[in-house]
Subunit: 248 residues, 2 copies
DNA sequence: CCCAATCCTTGATACAGATCAAAACCATGA
DNA sequence: TCATGGTTTTGATCTGTATCAAGGATTGGG
């Protein structure tokens, strides 16, 4: 059976695909991966890694959501990345990171000790190439976020955030006879954390949610849920080009 | 003679080091690089690459400054990266980019056709590793900039920008008997471009320059120059931790 | 079941930075 | 030398978001 290049690996025990590994690698490599695997769970709010700490593990997020953030001396913080299941934590060839990793919800990681993982990477160019691809994906995402942080209004930020969640969780469920599909989203974070992600305050986030609800674009049945009623209007509100999606 | 790993290559014709190449590679690879090299110059303001355009070349910046930027439908733009001499343009394994590359000043690039360059990368793991390092450096820089865009005040943004220029151009020249060294900086861009980089308007940039000058922290002898009179005060104004520098 | 803690919403007000406008500055070429 | 067009500075005003403040909703524990 022919397996295409760069399809990510579904390993035996984890309910997710490990995005850092490619399916063309031989069974031998997969076995090596299996052997060095270990699981760790962190309750919501836990610091998984501090800035500057030595980085002994790399990991895939198996369940839950973790976040990368940077903090200023006086306490202002900015989230610089969101890690959803299947995302990869770790930097090949680097012993330290320049930001904090925090469990936003309860998080389970599938960890690999860094040293043997890097040895594996050196042996298998496909994995190295896949890691490079992931790094470039992260870079593109970071740059999109820079546009959001630097130029978008509060309303556009919220719309972009909800649109991103809809895309990433792929929960866009067609519904009813109308042309606009609706999506039920689970918010993995509090208003305060959303604010930190978007460069806003929690009050502004709350007000924008209320405004979008008032206009009938979304519904907010409870604090952790959003129903996208009119996805076209939501996407109009993001300020992005129509073809916001990246064509792989 | 022993050459340490990952020292970047100074090639025969360019006045800079190509950061994408490592010195441990054999002469053979260097020769291959030499052969596929070509130079292109772009006058200030030229579009070097449009978003979505096929990416046939990778390149090093030899002289001048180029910028990466993203634009919204309605014209708002945000610079998402600055390319100074020795910086690398291009994405191994990717045929497209998600932003525009513009010549900020007159720019000369040392170009390599993408296909043979990638073949070289595949043959030489050290180069691949170096490219990964560069991508991770860019990612760290992007994340620092996200903190700046999302949370810093106009004054902190300007101070951070000047401090970054001072570090990158390494023009920190000790001067006089005082404890605070001074630095003469050349600004490679207009107020408008600085504003686009910092997520501000040109008027705000100008006002903050004036304010820092009034306070005796900098001097602005002409539109394209800044003299840092008190670098300690400048760094205090960035809002960053004292050890803002990344220890390599 | 109630209490405490946390999270969320809404209102009133303040302010940093955007926007609008005009004048000063500077480089370039005729 | 002067006109010309682009860039920068400065001023006046406006506005979106932060800040301050209070009350309401939700959750978990005893």
């Amino acid at each position: 059976m022919m397996i295409p290049d760069f399809v990510d690996v579904k390993c035996s025990a984890c309910p997710i695909r490990h995005r850092a590994v490619c399916a063309r690698c031989d069974t031998e490599e997969l076995l090596r991966l299996e052997k060095m695997k270990s699981y760790r769970t962190f309750p919501a709010g836990t610091e998984i890694l501090w800035r500057g700490e030595p980085l002994d593990y790399v990991a895939s997020v198996v369940s839950g959501v973790a976040s990368l953030s940077k903090t200023m001396e006086d306490g202002r913080t900015q989230m610089v990345g969101l890690l959803l299941p299947s995302d990869f934590i770790g930097r090949p060839g680097r012993a330290k990171i320049e930001f904090d990793v925090t469990a936003t919800t309860d998080v389970t990681l599938c960890c690999f000790a860094r040293a043997p993982f890097e040895a594996l990477v050196i042996d298998t160019p496909h994995v190295a190439q896949r890691l490079m691809e992931l790094a470039l994906d992260e870079l593109d995402a970071a740059r999109d976020w820079m546009l959001l942080l630097g130029r978008k209004t509060a309303r556009e930020k919220i719309a972009t955030f909800l649109d991103m969640l809809a895309r990433r969780s792929q929960l866009i469920t067609p519904k009813g006879a109308g042309t606009a599909p609706a999506a039920a989203l689970h918010l993995p974070m509090t208003r305060d954390q959303i604010a930190n992600y978007l460069g806003l305050t929690l009050e502004t986030v709350s007000r924008q949610f209320s405004a979008l609800k008032r206009e009938g674009i979304i519904d907010v049945p409870d604090r952790r849920s959003v129903i996208v009623i009119n996805i076209d209007l939501l996407q109009n509100a993001t300020g992005d080009d129509a073809d916001g999606g990246v064509v792989a």
